[in-house]
Symmetry: C3
Subunit: 366 residues, 3 copies
Amino acid sequence: MFLKNCWYVAAWDHELLDGKMLPRTILEEAVLLYKSESGKVVALRDRCCHRGVPLHLGRREGDCVRCMYHGLKFDSSGKCIQIPGQDKVPEKFGVKSYPVVEKDHLVWIWMGDPDQADPALIVDFPYLRDPQWKGIPDYMHYDANWLLIVDNLSDFAHLAFVHTKTLGGSEEYAYVTKPVAVERLNDGFRVERWHMNAAPPPFHRKVLPAAEKDQPVDRRNIGRMFVPGIFFLESMFSPAGSGSEQGKREGSREYRNCQFMTPETRSTTHFFWTYLNNYEGEDHNISRSLHQSLIEGFLEDKHLIEAQQKVLDADPSFELQAVVADAALSHFRRTLAAQIAKEQSEQAATPVPIAVRKPHQVGLGA
Amino acid sequence: MFLKNCWYVAAWDHELLDGKMLPRTILEEAVLLYKSESGKVVALRDRCCHRGVPLHLGRREGDCVRCMYHGLKFDSSGKCIQIPGQDKVPEKFGVKSYPVVEKDHLVWIWMGDPDQADPALIVDFPYLRDPQWKGIPDYMHYDANWLLIVDNLSDFAHLAFVHTKTLGGSEEYAYVTKPVAVERLNDGFRVERWHMNAAPPPFHRKVLPAAEKDQPVDRRNIGRMFVPGIFFLESMFSPAGSGSEQGKREGSREYRNCQFMTPETRSTTHFFWTYLNNYEGEDHNISRSLHQSLIEGFLEDKHLIEAQQKVLDADPSFELQAVVADAALSHFRRTLAAQIAKEQSEQAATPVPIAVRKPHQVGLGA
Amino acid sequence: MFLKNCWYVAAWDHELLDGKMLPRTILEEAVLLYKSESGKVVALRDRCCHRGVPLHLGRREGDCVRCMYHGLKFDSSGKCIQIPGQDKVPEKFGVKSYPVVEKDHLVWIWMGDPDQADPALIVDFPYLRDPQWKGIPDYMHYDANWLLIVDNLSDFAHLAFVHTKTLGGSEEYAYVTKPVAVERLNDGFRVERWHMNAAPPPFHRKVLPAAEKDQPVDRRNIGRMFVPGIFFLESMFSPAGSGSEQGKREGSREYRNCQFMTPETRSTTHFFWTYLNNYEGEDHNISRSLHQSLIEGFLEDKHLIEAQQKVLDADPSFELQAVVADAALSHFRRTLAAQIAKEQSEQAATPVPIAVRKPHQVGLGA
Ligand code: FES
Ligand code: FES
Ligand code: FES
């Protein structure tokens, strides 16, 4: 159901400031995230191996964490290193730990086989570390499967109807523009769409100087989606007719947007995002305005997508009908499904140990 | 579980005023109701055939409705007539539409086979269109299966205990009166009950002129229940001993009450009702008082019935014990069960097409 | 899943004052408790045999209760003795009644085979009826299986971590003390633990006279757990070095604590408790302070235990790892499991009658 051997965004780094013990469920596993005393981010299964109490209710001690029920202490690799009232700690005592990488203000986690966790596989979004690009990182929680958000981002046409008064600008966008190209890639897709000679959309108009507010623009959007659910968007607004489609950039204003969809459960999603501009300089009100506009737009999506999730939940036999604009969406789902199938067939080769119920477990699970 | 080939009340007509897009789940199907520009009530499956977004979040355009996610437009028959960004609309694109009849301020819907939807089958309650009869139509939502409400109406004895201080009047009603007749009919039942020479019950006493408040009355109730859950009640209060049981009507005051139980789900119900009187003339305070009294009484029922639903849910193996007064109730359930069984055996003869999972559906349904 | 042939605490007697109809679910059965006119506590299945309406919504009449839907009346043995509108009451009409014993302010109930309900089997806690011992009886509701609370009480080491600032006093308690003995008994276990020469724990310190607040104490705890979930605790605080471990009692202050865990459902629990002291005399502020301290401490437990329940619910395959301190806990679970298995094998020998669906039941249970 989930692709496990890949990197997911687990948090923004600012969420772990000041020793915060952050509980976060990822791919239906409860994870505890914290920054150790030595400054490394630690990710442990948020469940004491003794009697199951969540470790985030415990206490950080240096690089370690102590369960505050009976006091078992775990190091940053998840190994149990102390059991109060007991001299020896059995070798097998401990909780699962997850590979974690902190990079460009994002905390990435690998939920699958740790041996395959190669940091080089992390998708790079260089604008996050480029001081010229400014923006406000944020988080939103969705009551919907992450693929419904991926769907949403797969077709710019929805800008016309969902976001007419915020991010879109006009319904015309859906009728007079078409994707220049939908590139089907091994790890996702790339879509490019131009909208020539139109009024600037509301979110962009708001931050324009007065003189530009009523000038028509040529608008280019290039979207790039990566498995399992990572989206980069490059937007450019140029004066209408300035030749930006032939590579002329004069008078253009550009945006870089990244969105990371991390499944919390099969029906809920962590949504991390930021929207960067390269022209505000020291005028941080531009970031603030864009941040507000994007939230407004995302809430329009969220309203529809969460309703959609309920509809799909209510009748799993419902047969959707694909339109031409679903090309990217369908390719993405096919690609992801193939990767999950491959991963699961590999995993099926591994034997599973047989569980034996011990006295201290009697009565659990009803 | 539900009888599908019959008419259900879907709404009061005033619920659709001013272009309201009314989402209402009926027999566990999400339905969108709206009045088209040409004035006809339209009922469509409230689920866009593209990606499942509820159509009630869309926009009415003339007689049509547009899904405001990617802009598909549907006419009042449910046919998709526009897909933005695409020249041709495939023939099979569309959503289910339901036969609807607006009559006497009620909107009736047919959830089953449209070919069998004969308006002549709608149960007629002529008092709804007779200007002499006045009342305030209303709606209540129940967290209970509609048959528990049908049960409630099948035996007037509950008036004595549940509604002693509102609609009933005294516990005596349960002891000294018995149904004159319980007629078992093909499409439901008819019950008649007299209570002679008793104080007027509180709801009736409230609207009486001072001189009549303390005069004993002879009270007649005739209840008529129809499959699948439609109840008409004719009540008459006559001066005690005036001979109303022999057809004398002088000094009588009469009421006509209709109640429509439409299953929302197997455990929730839409309850439409009105309580009419034929004597208020221009004194609308009589309607208002009766309306308040009835709500008060219905809430007494609702409290018990919703508790009952929880009890029945908690233990499906619970074996109820029937009393003599359950004759009408038992007949009704037997009748309805037979009709449902017949309908389902007919339907079982129809072959079901095999669903194939397409790429754009991958990942849905977990 | 539950042991049925044993006594459970159903209520404190003060909960039934003034004719209160108390609904309380016990072992997943809805029970109605009330004190009859003749002063005996009655426990009936809280579900009318007619159409399932809860009897606690009815009315007490003398020793009897009347269902206020259609008026069936039941005596204190559960037998139906009146059906309004019907001359004869069929023999089999009635609801289940449960053996009940009121003793030392507790109402005990027997949920299993009534023939085995011997009051002599009730565990005796004589301090409840000894006027020298003072305290405030109370109740708390847990969203957790009762065995998780039993676990909690099986190891005093948790005092160190969970209750450091309330009932415990210091984390040292977990490291420098060990149980003197864990006695594995047929009906539970007994644990004794000493902690010598330490500061009085906060709850005790609060009620000490100023002169004693900073004097070190020798602390003895003796816990006794009984199947199915009854806990008695004897605590003694003596001046450090006064020889209390050799039986010298001079200057000691003692507490007697009882806790009764009654399963409401498999995942929720009724928790009855009181904490008694033998030295307050007429200074009831001591009871009040201890009562507050205990609530504070119990809430610390509740917070962890309810989180633990959620973790266990989320993954029934989770394999707990036992520590040395789990000896008492493991013994208790093994003992209880054996008793439940024995009970169920005896019950399996009894044939179950076959249920037939009657007309008045059609349509129930969806
Ligand atoms: S549950 Fe964590 S130490 Fe016991
Ligand atoms: S979901 Fe309705 S148009 Fe796409
Ligand atoms: S449900 Fe109790 S009398 Fe009918």
